[in-house]
């Protein structure tokens, strides 16, 4: 079973990396891009014996404790059996 964790800066928190990428895209001629936010993805391989509910709870705790800094970051979790 895999857990896919996406972490990104909270809306409203300035994302300098996103800004730089946006700037580069516009320079390359991609005019339709309104905004870019850069995040990170962490893929965890989990023990298959856990139920999806249990796994979600477990990964939520991992995010709160270590994977995300909830002062500035939000996270989403997707579990794939």
């Amino acid at each position: 079973m895999k857990a896919i964790v996406n972490i990104h800066l909270k809306p409203g928190v300035l994302d300098p990396q996103g800004k730089a990428v946006h700037h580069a895209l516009v320079q390359l001629g991609f005019k339709g891009v309104e905004d870019v936010r850069v995040g990170k993805q962490i893929i965890l391989t989990l023990d298959d014996s856990l139920s999806i509910e249990e796994a979600t709870k477990e990964v939520e705790q991992m995010c709160e404790k270590l994977l995300a800094n909830t002062v500035i970051e939000d996270y989403t979790i997707k579990i794939e059996k």
């Binding site: 928190v13 300035l14 300098p16 990396q17 730089a20 270590l66 800094n69 002062v71 500035i72």
Partner: protein
């Protein structure tokens, strides 16, 4: 004064810090992060600069779980003095021993240069030997020094004199090298016994290095 300087894998300022505190006559011990207790009669814990755990995930995010951190947290809760410099500051933020968080510098550059900083408050031990409004010249060297804290929390920090250092130019006017909210360079906790700053006082501890202002700062702990 007995100073415990904590070394994590990737710390690289422990010897400079040791040297600087040696210059003000403190007893120093470098403590490996796997230790579970601090040396007996420690007066001050310093988390020095560097790149603990290679800055993986987020600066300071993994060092926070090192065995010694539990002892440091307890030490701080009991009123013991803790100083985090640069990566040490980041570790204190990740440990929630200080409020707020660090983000990448606004211009995405690793900034390494001398930077003027202004003393906002001296009613704390760390800056007790400096004067209010004094401009100090101290090196900075970081990629993640863009300090962020929620506005309501920031207001409380101002009211309680917890915002203690601000980036500025040579005349003390506003200057912001990294995008920090209100150009904040250093803060302390509510009880004023835990301090964090991005500039490196230990790198400004004798004339040969370009500035002695760092000595003025750390000397506060001797008083």
């Amino acid at each position: 004064m007995k100073v415990a300087i904590i070394r994590f894998p990737g710390t690289n300022c422990e010897f400079d810090t040791d040297y600087a505190f040696g210059r003000i006559g403190a007893d120093r011990t470098i403590v490996w992060h796997k230790e579970e207790s601090l040396p007996k009669d420690t007066d001050l814990v310093v988390l020095p600069g560097g790149f603990s755990y290679g800055d993986y995930l987020r600066s300071g995010a993994i060092a926070r779980f090192s065995p010694i951190m539990k002892a440091i947290k307890e030490f701080g809760q009991k009123g013991g003095y803790v100083l985090g410099i640069c990566n040490g500051f980041q570790i204190l933020l990740e440990s929630h021993m200080l409020p707020g968080a660090m983000m990448r510098n606004k211009n995405l550059h690793f900034i390494s240069k001398f930077q003027y900083i202004k003393v906002l408050h001296t009613d704390n031990k760390f800056l007790s030997q400096t004067s209010e409004g004094e401009v100090l010249n101290i090196p900075i060297a970081h990629a993640e020094g863009n300090y962020f804290v929620k506005p309501d929390k920031l207001k409380k920090m101002y009211d309680n004199h917890q915002v203690i250092l601000q980036y500025c130019d040579a005349q003390g006017n506003y200057d912001n090298p990294n995008g920090s909210v209100d150009a904040i360079a250093g803060i302390c906790n509510e009880n004023k016994n835990i301090f964090g700053l991005m500039p490196h006082p230990e790198r400004a501890c004798e004339k040969l290095l370009g500035s002695e202002d760092g000595i003025k700062m750390i000397k506060g702990f001797m008083h």
